[in-house]
């Protein structure tokens, strides 16, 4: 069974919500990136979204843009992202579901078929392509389905009912609900309309719904967990890397920050 499905089943049985963490692959460098990620499962992360660095991340705010360029400076190419997944999967007890979070051009350049094949060989469980709406995703969906790789699509506050239905039908694994219009990045306040949007998505699908964009504190995670199946934190954790670039204990700081975030759910 696909690790994402399994994870959500387990969580459901335990009446828990999922904590999804985004990190850019190779940030701040290959070694430390692997090290940080290898700790995540023990610290309460349920699913990892692993960002493939891209030169022109047009749906990302400044924090993830900077992380992307840090990774690219370290030559974090698609090959090294796969290499990273391979190393992680070789570790005993590393069962964390991994969703590759990417833009379409690096995927197309790698070759869609080859990309899906590599994902399946190395133990990637799902893919989210930010600039590939269901309309453009026909071949991608078919190829991924054959290898039981989940295709996660996004619903936005601007998606009307007809599109939500289409997106729900195209999605497997879970559906990603974007909490507000805009790019990735932390916000002080969450959009009060999001619960309604999640409810609307649920009308068209039984898949778990994850809410992301702008979530940065344990409190906000709890807030989201009250009405959605999963909360995604990205920029806030990436920011911790940025803030501690010169510190020798960077990994420790990031891991500690993430476990605090995860604790937001555990207390419930």
């Amino acid at each position: 069974m696909n690790r994402i499905d399994k994870k959500f089943q387990e969580l459901k049985a335990a009446r828990r919500k999922a904590f999804i963490l985004y990190l850019t692959a190779g940030d701040p460098d290959f070694k430390r990136s692997v090290n940080i990620i290898s700790h995540m499962e023990n610290k309460g992360v349920d699913i990892l979204e692993l960002g493939v660095p891209f030169s022109d991340p047009l749906a990302d705010g400044p924090t993830i843009q900077k992380a992307s360029s840090r990774s690219l400076k370290q030559n974090a190419l698609m090959k090294s992202v796969f290499n990273m997944v391979e190393i992680l999967r070789k570790r005993k007890n590393f069962k964390l579901p991994i969703v590759l979070f990417t833009y379409y051009n690096p995927v197309m350049n790698f070759g869609l078929k080859k990309f899906i094949l590599r994902c399946s060989q190395l133990g990637v469980d799902g893919i989210l392509i930010l600039d590939l709406p269901p309309e453009e995703a026909g071949e991608y969906k078919n190829l991924a389905a054959k290898k039981d790789i989940k295709t996660v699509f996004l619903v936005s506050p601007t998606s009307p009912a007809g599109r939500i239905k289409k997106i729900a039908e195209a999605s497997t694994g879970f559906i990603y609900c974007v909490s507000r219009t805009g790019v990735t990045g932390a916000r002080k306040k969450l959009n009060t309309e999001t619960p309604k949007l999640v409810k609307q998505i649920k009308r068209y699908s039984t898949l778990p719904v994850a809410v992301g964009f702008g979530i940065s504190t344990p409190r906000q995670i709890r807030e989201v967990a009250a009405y959605a199946d999963a909360a995604v934190v990205g920029s806030a954790a990436v920011k911790k890397i940025e803030e501690n670039l010169r510190k020798r204990n960077l990994e420790e700081k990031v891991v500690r920050f993430v476990s605090k975030l995860a604790a937001g759910l555990k207390n419930k």
Binding site: G61, N109, D131, E135, T158
Partner: protein
């Protein structure tokens, strides 16, 4: 041709954008189809094109240049338009759509600043709030245009990410649009980006070719042998070529920026130096690394300094209907000087690429051919850059 339902020209184009923009693109598409055939809209558009922008523009016979090159050369004088380039054609069309969609704010990206100035002007005319994204490098290269935009009441936002040129300005404009999509219209300046932009911008630029056809038939009683225009995103070229594409004997050449030469890697020649990929919402020819990262481009001309080409150009490239070639910075500057000296016309550095192609290939084109070149913009904005270039390269040139 019109793109298919998905917005594809053959295998190029499409809507490769974040979900948040899908609805806005659909709204724009519906609005465009509605008003495209609306009599009042067309009347209003023509009114502003004539009274505000100064259409029709002349098709000027460049006598001295013709004599020197051994051809009959006509220049389509888009440089005479208000704000100094063909960009105003599209800006007027899109502001009329924006107003009809009830958008209170307009954003745009600009490279050379010509599109930014055109958008700033029409926003001033309609009293619409206007923010223009421009790369820091381009702000330096095209400082005069920055001041013009500000004078017209626009807010120019400096983009410091990436190569700090057009590509990055477009990234930021899209990020802004994703955030403020509900009250903001994005006036994209070229035939690039997601569907329906390549179609809409092309249609608003087709007026160039429609006029040119009437004019050349009147003056020469026949169709041209060659039509030549520079290709950045590709709006002035497709605007000029479109009405003529159905005539098999007319040949078309799109001229890209060869920068410092293809061998140096510092250029913006997407067809000879690039491959198919996805950039800014469209599948098209782009300049990319082996790993699918977008490559940095170089051109002395800010308006051609861009990693992607409009998707319909990729279609015509593969069909073979339009030929694409490139000329270097140096060749473009020489053409800039040559046209100034022979005709008393200072062309934009972008348009200089088209002129440079004809100068360079005058023998290859045959003898006494009838050639129409799009003088897409005027070069006032470029005199500083050219003057510096000439000083720097004085020795080399002699």
């Amino acid at each position: 041709m019109n793109p298919d339902k998905r917005g594809m020209f053959g295998e190029f184009g499409g809507k490769y954008v974040p979900e948040t923009l899908m609805t806005a693109l659909k709204e724009l598409e519906e609005c465009y189809y509605k008003y495209k055939i609306d009599r009042k809209f067309k009347e209003e558009l023509n009114h502003y094109l004539k009274e505000y922008a100064g259409r029709p523009t002349p098709l000027y016979f460049a006598e001295r240049l013709s004599k020197e090159l051994g051809h009959r050369i006509y220049l389509k004088r888009e440089d005479l338009l208000h704000t100094g380039a063909h960009k105003i054609n599209n800006a007027i069309g899109q502001i009329l759509l924006a107003v009809r969609m009830g958008k209170k704010r307009v954003i745009a990206e600009t490279g050379a600043g010509q599109h930014g100035v055109a958008v700033a002007a029409v926003c001033a005319m309609f009293g619409v709030q206007c923010d223009i994204y421009m790369g820091e490098e381009d702000i330096y290269r095209q400082n005069l245009n920055v001041f013009r935009m500000e004078l017209l009441g626009a807010n120019v936002i400096k983009v410091k990410s990436g190569s700090r040129t057009l590509k990055d300005a477009m990234n930021e404009a899209i990020r802004d649009w994703v955030t403020n999509v509900r009250n903001t219209h994005y006036i994209l300046g070229s035939v690039g980006g997601p569907h329906p932009y390549p179609m809409i911008v092309r249609d608003f630029q087709r007026v160039i070719g429609k006029e040119a056809k009437k004019q050349i038939l009147k003056m020469e009683k026949r169709l041209p042998d060659y039509m030549v225009a520079c290709v950045g995103g590709g709006s002035n070229s497709i605007g000029l070529f479109y009405e003529f594409l159905k005539y098999p004997r007319v040949k078309f050449i799109g001229v890209e920026a060869g920068g410092l030469g293809l061998k140096t890697g510092k250029h913006a020649a997407r067809f000879k130096g690039g491959s198919v990929g996805v950039l800014h919402g469209a599948k098209t020819y782009i300049l990319q690394t082996e790993d699918g990262q977008i490559r940095l481009t170089h051109s002395i001309s800010a308006g051609l300094d861009y990693a992607g080409v409009g998707p319909e150009h990729s279609y015509f490239y593969e069909e073979g209907r339009i030929k694409y070639d490139n000329v270097t910075d140096g060749e473009a500057v020489n053409a800039f000087v040559k046209l100034s000296e022979t005709e008393g016309l200072i062309p934009a550095l972008e348009s200089s690429h088209a002129i440079a192609y004809v100068i360079k290939n005058r023998k290859k084109l045959g003898k006494n051919k009838l050639i129409v070149i799009n003088l897409s913009g005027r070069g006032d904005k470029d005199v500083q850059v050219v003057s510096e270039y000439l000083k720097k390269n004085k020795k080399k040139r002699k």
